[in-house]
């Protein structure tokens, strides 16, 4: 059986088309899977960082995930707002919070220079810490996000400035 040149070319073209469609399809699929993975990572991070509830109806294309604020989310936002009310240079992203756009909310807490500036100002405004005492930007971040007092005097400074209520004495 001898194939004509024309027939051979046609076969190669058809074969190449199949390979092309196959690669195109897998390229799209791989990109979609990548996008889904990135979205699931974002959902996970926001759920963890803002103490949210989450409902996953589908974790493949089309992805269907809904996030809901909890009482713990409110507590985080209240700490943030209390500081922002006194130190407006720390932005409190009201619109993004109302829209429950947690990725944008997170961006407002990413400027470490502002956090450092505010925490330095707090130490300066309070009469409690001795000269030379200070804190890093993570101190303010950990207080807002996790209600942690990770540096000496931070709890006393927050109480002194009226951001935290005074400690109850048993």
């Amino acid at each position: 059986m001898k194939l004509s040149f024309k027939y051979k070319v046609l076969m190669i073209v058809v074969l190449l088309m199949f390979i092309g469609i196959f690669l195109y399809y897998y390229g799209i699929k791989a990109r979609q899977e990548q996008a889904v993975t990135e979205a699931l990572i974002d959902y996970k991070n926001m759920t963890r960082e803002y103490a949210l509830d989450a409902v996953y109806k589908s974790k493949e294309v089309p992805i269907e995930v809904k996030l809901y604020p909890t009482a713990h989310t409110e507590a985080i936002l209240n700490r943030w707002k209390a500081i922002s009310d006194r130190y407006p240079e720390l932005d409190y992203p009201e619109a993004a919070i109302e829209a429950e756009d947690w990725l944008t909310v997170e961006e407002s807490l990413e400027d470490t220079d502002v956090l450092k500036e505010v925490v330095d100002q707090m130490y300066e405004d309070s009469t409690i810490p001795p000269e030379g005492a200070g804190a890093s930007f993570t101190t303010l971040f950990n207080y807002i996000k996790y209600h942690q007092y990770d540096t000496t005097y931070i709890e006393e400074v927050l109480i002194d400035l009226g951001i935290e209520p005074p400690k109850e004495i048993d």
């Binding site: 996970k44 949210l52 989450a54």
Partner: protein, 188 residues
């Protein structure tokens, strides 16, 4: 001509081996329930997880109770898996934030698939919980232990908005009595 035949037969055999290898992989990848749970939680990114209980609703449906996120494990999840010809597959999952600070127990209501589920963390010293509803129904929820201890109840009758929880220790002594309220409209 004979050479050509040998090539075609060899190629066909190689192709069949490759195709059956992938088909075998596809069918078998999620047959083992524990591996499937690990894989599904990895895909949800609910990693550094703790599994409290695997509850078989029937032969091909399972609810997995877990918590995730290091170091506090305060996100409590429940995931439904269904067994298909491709093994165990994800159906739905719910994650609720419940922090244990200053509380004997916490609890939330959630609907997953066709089931109404009440669940939450409690302390390790609790050996048994008794739930008494306002209309006199009594339930003993299951307990699962991992990083925390989790109680859970898969409701088969009408859900309730409020109930008294009596917590017992291993000697049968009452540790605490607490009333929990549930939002039956959650998450809407």
């Amino acid at each position: 001509m004979k050479k050509k035949k040998v090539i075609i037969v060899t190629m066909t055999i190689v192709l069949l081996i490759v195709v059956s290898y992938f088909a075998f992989q596809l069918v078998n990848q999620n047959q083992d329930i524990e591996k499937a749970i690990e894989q599904e939680l990895y895909e949800l990114k609910h990693t550094v997880e703790d599994i409290y209980a695997i509850e078989f609703l029937d032969n091909d449906r399972v609810l997995v109770f877990y918590s995730w996120s290091f170091p506090d494990y305060s996100n409590f999840g429940v995931m439904e898996l269904e067994k298909t010809w491709r093994g165990w597959q994800f159906v739905e999952a719910v994650s609720n934030r419940m922090e244990m600070k200053n509380a004997w127990l916490k609890g939330v209501y959630a609907e997953i698939g066709d089931y109404a589920i009440l669940r939450g963390p409690t302390w390790a010293s609790v050996a048994k919980i008794e739930i008494i509803t306002g209309d006199g129904r009594e339930y003993i929820p299951d307990l699962g232990r991992a990083e925390w201890q989790m109680w859970y109840l898969i409701l088969e009758d009408e859900p309730f908005e409020e109930a008294t929880f009596i917590l017992y220790d291993s000697d049968g002594e009452v540790l605490k009595e607490e009333v929990l309220e549930f939002d039956l409209n959650w998450p809407e």
